[in-house]
């Protein structure tokens, strides 16, 4: 062979030895045997179908994924899962763009330089775990394990982290729910021991027929659904509410009312759209309740609003009724009107008397009906609890609770999962501390920074928005056995959450994380970020660990069904890059802590017990479904009513069970991952209604709901026959044991203890309902509200296909022209090379926008697309482009949650638009934390708007 004498490569001998072809942990090729190679050749290009679930939002819809060559090739809904009945939303269908995003976190990284500088270097897992382990061991020795917070963010797969950190010795483990909607859930939790009330429109439901067979029922029974501050078509978590609402409308003539200051997509399906002022949900509900109580007439078929049989299944109605009515005699200082009267509500909500009256009448007279309320409203209001409680009362007294076509508490009826795997038992470990010179003994649980802290002892979901204060000032324990104890917060482990951006105001979080002590060391000594996505919160971390994406790790889904359904989120592909599953991370860290001498962490509780993630999931499945055999029709007529059910649907159906009469448990074969895999990934147990009463008598069954008396409770703390009952009793007991010391939250609203029944107080930053803020009304004429844009959540905004969608007024194609590192597909073939960057022309790509009423915009000289600055009375501001339309109440401005001002470079196009997209959180008042649970007042703010 002839070769021309090209002398472009002459090498020195030294070059040869510089890079030996060694394997040392670098990605590399390996040899296959001929048979291995052949096997792989034949399998390439073939599809494999796997059943899993989506975790891009808490709906966790069942997914059917087609895998080819080890990669997710197609994504559809899993037809066997009733939550989504085979469908997939736009976000779910775009999962590949998240899993295969080049911006994903791929390797463990350690910070080089100051926090927030963005300077990281890659390290091995061993190095990263070693670093974290040593710090945690050190912190435990110096300050106590309670000084660590484990924030699991995302609702999925938190159990491994909870288990680890409970065992380590801190009770301060939290998850996303804490900054989701706690005030919204307050009424249900207090009054039925539940959480979320949703309309009975999940279809199909598996229903026991009179002949004993089970049938998939698709019929809608609802006649009225009222969505208050709730936008299922866009906020999309209770996924069946999208098809269920239109299904009920078209197939059952159901009427839909949407109450929302903005014309949401859900409002397009409404027969009536009411746009009240923001923060007046409780006002409206209260007026509806008063109207119904005052106008109910049992003898007039057109006014028979109340179904008095509810009294059989509840307790305390008289107290509640009396307390509620006591407000009617009072005059509201802001308008001199009688509380909860139609005049009063019209004045405060900005709706007309007729609208309120019509609504109250419609809700009272239409049966079955469901009144449901939302996360943003009342959930994100300082006084959201009140609305939630009244909402529960409204549904119950009109006889709509847990009836066909009525309203269902999805928490009470969903399958149990987790069991001993979550490690709650570690929280009862006894520990000792020195307090004021005396040694005091208590349990790990008694260090909880909220439940036993000084501010929000009833915080059922931890007060994450208060964490920056805790980073700066530590925790004062004022309740429980460790009263008088103070401890600092020294470690914050954040997993699949973005609290710096979303946990209240970003500037407050940044300040707290960057705060240094007198010696120049960071007050918060350890900050770890664990996720698949490179979010703002990663920028400030000390150590970053890449977690396997939802398609690469296994767990269980079951969040919001109307009866017990549990399904397997199978790992359908191998973890990408060097990401690891939660089970592995848990075991690695546990092992390290153990090696460093932590005797609380044992192999028998971690790496020896859970060799694979499937072991962990099987333990989580052990209690399923864990609900009692109640309702009409009785789910299992062959078993005694009120007995707890455990086991696969198959074994329960066939009678392959043991019945334990002493403990009232029917135990079939335990649900396992293998069983789920053999059954399209899902286990479904039968639906029933009227679960609060016996199936064959109009009496309470005393097994449901989940309260202290097993009745619906309208009173919250009372004594009877020497025993004390009620949802608030344990918190008042704490206060009493602490010599009557009133927690900060209650002090703010002038309460000296948790109320014994109906209560009312005003929200913050609302000049129309709270006289304290009247003075701001003129200069800050707009109420600022916010709402999810499903496609553009904090963690999913970088997906290019979702940038081609527009949503209401908060996500619109108003981009400036920009270049993106989201390169487009290049031609295959004999081509000249093309540049990597792609230009997005102006106004072709969706960005976060500011939604404003057309007339308001005109008055302020603002046109559609103009850049404006929005400023609040605290002097904080944000910029964005305006989308002006007739679809929002005058005096209201709406911005999507985390749709703009994104400052993480790992977000692709979203980062490019940060200078002209609005950040709602920058306008949130970080000091507005609602009094009972410490939840941030995301929706309580007023602003002014000016063209830039």
């Amino acid at each position: 062979m002839q070769v021309s004498r090209r002398v472009f490569l002459r090498y020195a001998a030294a070059l040869g030895g510089v890079a030996a072809l060694n394997k040392s942990g670098l990605m590399t090729l390996k040899n296959l045997s001929p048979s291995e190679a052949e096997a792989m050749q034949t399998s390439m290009g073939k599809y494999e179908v796997k059943y899993t679930a989506d975790a891009m939002c808490p709906a966790e819809c069942g997914m059917e994924m087609w895998i080819k060559d080890g990669k997710i090739a197609k994504i559809y809904g899993n037809k066997a899962v009733p939550m989504n009945d085979g469908i997939a939303c736009a976000k779910g269908a775009s999962g590949q763009q998240l899993v295969y995003s080049p911006y994903r976190l791929k390797y463990p990284m350690i910070r080089v330089g100051e926090r927030g500088s963005g300077k990281f270097k890659r390290v091995t897992w061993d190095e990263a775990i070693d670093h974290i382990g040593k710090k945690l061991a050190d912190i435990k020795k110096k300050y106590g394990a309670e000084s660590a917070i484990m924030d699991c963010g995302d609702v999925t797969d938190r159990d491994h982290y909870y288990r680890l950190f409970f065992a380590y010795g801190t009770p301060n483990c939290t998850e996303h729910g804490s900054i989701c909607d706690t005030p919204r859930r307050h009424g249900p939790k207090l009054m039925v021991g539940g959480k979320r009330w949703e309309p009975d429109i999940m279809r199909p439901q598996l229903v026991r027929q009179p002949d004993g067979s089970l049938k998939k029922d698709y019929t809608y029974k609802s006649k009225l659904i009222v969505y208050n501050g709730w936008n299922p078509f866009v906020a999309t978590r209770i996924f069946y509410e999208s098809r269920g609402t239109v299904g009920a409308k078209v197939e059952n003539g159901c009427k839909v009312v949407v109450i929302d200051p903005s014309y949401s997509n859900t409002a397009t399906a409404a027969d009536m759209w009411l746009a009240p002022r923001a923060g007046t949900d409780g006002d409206l509900f209260g007026a509806m309740l008063r109207y119904i109580l005052e106008n109910d007439n049992q003898n007039d078929p057109n006014k028979k609003y109340i179904n008095w049989s509810f009294k059989k299944y509840s307790t305390g109605w008289e107290d509640f009724d009396a307390a509620f009515k006591s407000w009617w005699g009072k005059k509201d200082p802001i308008n001199g009107l009688s509380y909860f009267s139609l005049d009063w509500a019209a004045d405060r909500t900005g709706l007309s008397k007729k609208q309120i009256e019509d609504l109250a009448h419609l809700f009272g007279i239409t049966k079955p009906a469901a009144l449901v309320w939302g996360m943003q409203s009342p959930g994100h209001h300082y006084n959201g609890y009140c609305a939630s409680i009244i909402g529960v009362a409204l549904n119950v007294i009109t006889g709509n609770f847990d009836i066909p076509g009525g309203v269902i508490d999805t928490e009470l009826v969903k399958s149990d999962k987790g069991g001993s795997a979550t490690g709650k038992q570690f929280k009862s470990k006894k520990v000792k501390r020195m307090i004021d010179g005396k040694e005091v003994e208590g349990e790990v649980e008694h260090f909880h920074m909220d439940l036993f802290g000084s501010k929000y002892p009833a915080a059922w979901d931890d007060a994450v928005a208060d964490y920056p204060n805790a980073f700066m000032e530590g925790v004062d324990v004022r309740y429980g056995p460790f009263r008088g104890y103070h401890y600092p917060i020294k470690a914050y482990i954040l997993r699949t959450g973005n609290s710096i951006l979303t946990g209240s105001a970003p500037y407050k979080w940044k300040d707290a994380i960057l705060a240094k002590d007198a010696s120049g060391n960071y007050k918060l000594e350890l900050y770890v970020f664990i996720d698949s996505l490179n979010l703002e919160s990663a920028l400030y971390a000390d150590v970053i660990l890449p977690e396997a994406s939802y398609a690469e790790r296994q767990s269980l889904s079951d969040i919001y069904p109307s009866h017990q359904v549990i399904y397997n989120r199978d790992a359908v592909i191998k973890p990408l890059h060097e990401s690891k599953k939660p089970t592995e991370i848990m075991n690695m860290l546990a092992r390290k802590l153990h090696e460093l001498g932590d005797s609380d962490i044992k192999g028998s509780d971690f790496w020896e017990k859970y060799k694979t993630e499937e072991d962990f999931v099987n333990e989580m499945l052990a209690p399923a479904p864990g609900r009692v055999n109640v309702g009409t029709p009785l789910p299992y007529p062959q078993y005694p009513e009120g007995y707890k059910l455990i086991g696969t649907p198959e074994s329960l159906e066939k009678g392959e069970v043991t019945v334990d009469d002493r403990n009232k448990v029917v135990k079939g074969k335990p649900v396992t991952v293998e069983w789920l895999r053999n059954n399209h990934g899902v286990a479904i147990w039968p639906m029933s209604w009227y679960r609060y009463k016996k199936h064959n008598a109009d009496e309470p069954n005393k097994a449901f709901p989940n309260t202290s008396t097993k009745l619906i409770e309208f009173k919250f703390d009372w004594a009877d026959g020497g025993k004390r009952y009620g949802g608030y009793k344990s918190y008042n007991e704490k206060i009493e044991k602490a010599g009557g010391e009133v927690p900060l939250g209650l002090r703010e609203i002038g309460f000296s203890k948790f109320p014994s029944t109906f209560f009312w107080f005003e929200t913050k930053w609302n000049p129309y309902t709270n006289p304290e803020y009247k003075k701001y009304a003129k200069d800050y004429p707009f109420q600022l509200i916010c709402g999810r844009v499903h496609h553009a959540m904090s963690g999913t905004q970088m997906i290019p296909w979702l940038g081609e969608i527009k949503t209401e007024g908060t996500w619109q194609p108003m981009n400036n022209e920009f270049e993106a590192e989201v390169p487009e597909a290049m031609p295959m073939g004999d081509e000249p090379m093309k540049a990597m960057k792609m230009k997005f022309k102006a106004n072709t790509y969706a960005v976060g926008t500011i939604w404003m009423n057309t007339d308001d915009a005109k008055k302020a000289g603002i046109k559609n697309g103009d850049l404006v600055v929005v400023e609040n009375p605290l002097g904080k501001s944000t910029k964005g482009k305006v989308f002006a339309s007739g679809g929002i109440r005058p005096g209201i401005i709406k911005i999507g949650f985390a749709t703009g001002g994104r400052f993480s470079e790992g977000l692709g196009p979203a980062y490019k638009t940060k200078d002209y997209t609005p950040s709602h959180n920058d306008l949130v008042d970080p000091d507005v934390l609602s009094p009972i649970m410490g939840f941030p007042g995301y929706a309580d703010m007023i602003v002014k708007v000016k063209k830039v």
Binding site: I87, F233, R243, T245, Y263, N265, H791, W801, A825, P827
Partner: protein, 220 residues
């Protein structure tokens, strides 16, 4: 008897989620900025009576498709089952069919090069004169997910994943198919019947204003 495929969208049930648009992207690797399936969203009206319309659109697989005649190579043709196809091996990317579609359902695919030698047609098709195959790109459009139909899955991805359960697909020659039954029982309206192309895809649309409010072309 051969199949007669058709799509029906029940706008009473469309919730404007755009899953049909994105599911199509996922199924068919449609490039950013181009659409085989697009949801047109239009805001109209003034406070307190605003309106918002959702009109999900795909190629209508017209029975008298105006895109077929202008094709100089015969690459585009209508199958017996109704689907209007583009043969990528034959297409020379002249783009005449793109302009001929009043609905804007077609687009030039930025990344799939032409295979057929355009020089054969250069005389009559000046658009491709002097160009090599590798400089030209084929045309693309919705084809009712013909690759799924070929596997016996009579369910385009957009129908499979539809959040409102508003999309129906099937054989009009089968009186028991869902589309047949719906068409027989509920009034349907076409998008721009005035174009005279006899679209296969149709809508249940109680509020006709949707067709004027959300009237944009799919592409362009």
């Amino acid at each position: 008897m051969s199949k007669k495929y058709a799509l029906l969208v029940d706008l009473r049930k469309c919730v404007g989620c755009t899953s049909c648009q994105v599911s199509c992207k996922m199924e068919n690797a449609v490039p950013i900025g181009e659409f085989r399936s697009k949801v047109d969203i239009a805001d109209t009206g003034e406070y307190p009576k605003p309106k918002r319309y959702f009109l999900p659109k795909i190629c209508n697989q017209c029975d008298e498709a105006p895109c077929i005649l202008p094709c100089p190579t015969g690459a585009t043709y209508k199958r017996e089952d109704g689907v209007v196809m583009v043969n990528r091996d034959v297409c020379i990317g002249c783009g005449r069919c793109v302009g001929a579609c009043p609905y804007g359902a077609r687009f030039i695919h930025p990344h799939i090069p032409v295979k057929n030698d355009p020089s054969k047609y250069a005389k009559d098709v000046p658009e491709v004169k002097g160009k090599k195959a590798r400089d030209l790109r084929v045309v693309d459009k919705c084809d009712y997910c013909s690759h799924r139909l070929a596997e016996g899955i009579e369910e385009p991805a957009c129908v499979r994943n539809c959040v409102g359960k508003a999309r129906f697909f099937g054989d009009l020659n089968d009186p028991n198919s869902e589309v047949s039954k719906l068409k027989a029982s509920v009034k349907t309206t076409d998008w721009h019947p005035d174009y005279g192309t006899k679209p296969r895809s149709t809508f249940i649309a109680p509020d006709k204003e949707v067709f004027s409010a959300a009237d944009g072309q799919i592409n362009r």
